[in-house]
């Protein structure tokens, strides 16, 4: 006899984003239609005029929220991750680290899965500068652990005392969502009881701006930063680079109920696929994205008609947003008529490795509060985008059991879809 897989509850949330330094301030600003996009010119840093001079930096400098020694030992992407993980862990009612005696879960049952797209760019370039200017003896002895892609995951693992396992999925802009999918499997498989799952990135660096600009991926609306990130809008011209971190505490639902934890909702299912088509372009038939969405629905055991809310990946690029809209129509068919779509990169910009986790977190709050957040810049949906997109004002979600979908796509053809359920 096989045991049926356990439900996986969401018991803690943490975030530090372009809209706020924690979850309450982020959510409040998001509902109020505020944007984190502003003028952000890194031209002086590289000595050349950059074509893009806007971005969505973290609202609160992470260095002000940690001890001097912690800041000294970590890249900014790990600093953001540590702040978000600390908030999520306490929000779930846990103490740090899990090894302390008053903890209600053994450290050997705690996992951490933290995705990054870019990782420790800032430290890597800084240490290379030090090497060139001052020589090898001045390179920080912690340089290597600080610039590895698992840096943030390792730091968060240390923070909460995660001894079951620690992972750092790297799948470009799908990394944050992939982290949640992997954590879901760890808990269902019985490898862990509780997992800190999320994503982080801090890549506001001239090379990131120059590189994405060369791909024509970034919005050049330099004079109107607040209007630049326009997912699904007819006049969208590229995404806006952001930075931040978002963490969710996932937990075996039986365990969560036994300890009387507050349950925000459930991660009901995940679907993953790859286009195997092109390094950066979506495949013309969107088959990979469709496969991830239908896979997530099947994994959750939920019919498409039960999806009432979608948080779309929608970065604000002309090609990507249209391909995603097509994928949603193909995968959900007429069920898109009943689903209210939010594209929150309008406010956050594109937080890269954090994006999938941040959007899942936003979806959890939308279900828990029965309110779909605004797409603050939307004026007129672009051609071929026939979705019910929330505009500048948030929209109430219906009563009854609610399920939602969050999609995340990344360079390299990565597709991840998550199905979430409300608390009831």
């Amino acid at each position: 006899m096989t045991r049926s897989p356990c439900d996986v509850a969401i018991t803690g949330l943490g975030a530090t984003t372009p809209l706020g330094g924690d979850v309450p301030s982020t959510w409040q600003s998001l509902l109020a239609g505020k944007t984190g996009v502003c003028r952000f010119d890194l031209s002086a840093q590289c000595g050349h005029p950059l074509p893009v001079r806007i971005a969505a930096p973290a609202a609160v400098d992470p260095a002000t929220q940690l001890s001097a020694a912690q800041v000294h030992h970590t890249d900014r992407n790990a600093q953001l991750a540590l702040i978000a993980a600390r908030e999520a862990w306490h929000d779930a009612g846990y103490h740090t680290p899990a090894t302390s005696n008053d903890s209600t879960v053994a450290a050997t049952r705690v996992a951490a899965v933290i995705g990054v797209a870019v990782g420790s760019y800032l430290s890597k370039f800084h240490q290379y500068d030090v090497l060139l200017r001052e020589g090898p003896s001045r390179v920080d002895p912690r340089c290597i652990p600080m610039i590895l892609p698992n840096h943030a995951a390792a730091q968060v693992g240390l923070l909460i005392g995660a001894r079951a396992s620690v992972h750092a999925p790297v799948s470009a802009c799908a990394s944050g969502a992939e982290a949640l999918a992997l954590a879901l499997h760890l808990i269902r498989d019985g490898q862990a009881t509780v997992a800190m799952a999320g994503g982080t990135d801090a890549a506001l660096h001239p090379l990131t701006v120059a590189g994405f600009s060369r791909m024509r991926a970034l919005s050049r609306r330099n004079d109107e930063p607040h209007l630049a990130s326009r997912p699904f809008d007819a006049t969208r011209d590229g995404f806006v680079l952001g930075e931040g971190a978002a963490m969710l505490v996932l937990e075996n639902a039986d365990h969560a109920r036994r300890r009387g934890a507050r349950i925000y909702g459930y991660l009901a299912g995940a679907g993953m696929s790859n286009d195997s088509h092109h390094v950066a372009q979506p495949s013309p038939d969107s088959a990979g994205t469709v496969q991830a969405i239908t896979g997530a629905l099947a994994d959750a055991g939920i019919k498409a008609s039960r999806i009432r809310h979608i948080n779309a990946h929608a970065t604000s690029t002309p090609v990507g947003d249209l391909a995603e809209a097509n994928a949603l129509h193909t995968a959900l068919a007429s069920a898109t008529d009943n689903a209210v779509v939010s594209a929150t990169k309008a406010a956050f910009g594109h937080t890269l490795g954090a994006a999938g986790a941040l959007e899942a977190l936003t979806t959890v709050l939308a279900l828990a509060h029965r309110i779909a957040p605004p797409t603050c810049t939307l004026e007129e949906a672009g051609e071929g985008i026939n979705l019910d997109i929330v505009g500048a004002q948030p929209r109430e979600l219906p009563a009854g059991d609610l399920a939602a979908l969050s999609t995340s796509l990344g360079f390299g053809g990565h597709n991840v879809a998550l199905v979430l359920r409300g608390p009831s």
């Binding site: 001890s67 000294h72 030992h73 002895p141």
Partner: protein
């Protein structure tokens, strides 16, 4: 020549900034860097790098290995900064 007290105070500030989970109140002149302050080999390298930067001196590896206590370190810094380069 710098006084023992002023170098000691600067060193405590520097250790607090460089080493995680170290309370300045726990640092004494006779604290052993490894046994009392839990400064591991990697952290030790960082402390030496920070000392070199702060006092603009060069601490050769063989000298650094000899520094076992806060007091020894303070006296090493006083000596190194009073000798003309």
């Amino acid at each position: 020549m710098k006084s023992e007290q002023s170098v000691y105070e600067s060193l405590v500030t520097l250790l607090d900034r460089t080493i995680e989970d170290l309370a300045p109140a726990d640092i004494e002149l006779d604290s052993d860097l490894k046994d009392d302050l839990d400064i591991d080999s990697l952290a030790r390298l960082e402390v030496v790098a920070a000392i070199e930067e702060h006092w603009s001196i060069k601490v050769p590896e063989e000298d650094a290995e000899e520094l076992r206590t806060v007091r020894q370190t303070v006296h090493y810094i006083i000596e190194a900064t009073s000798t003309p380069a």
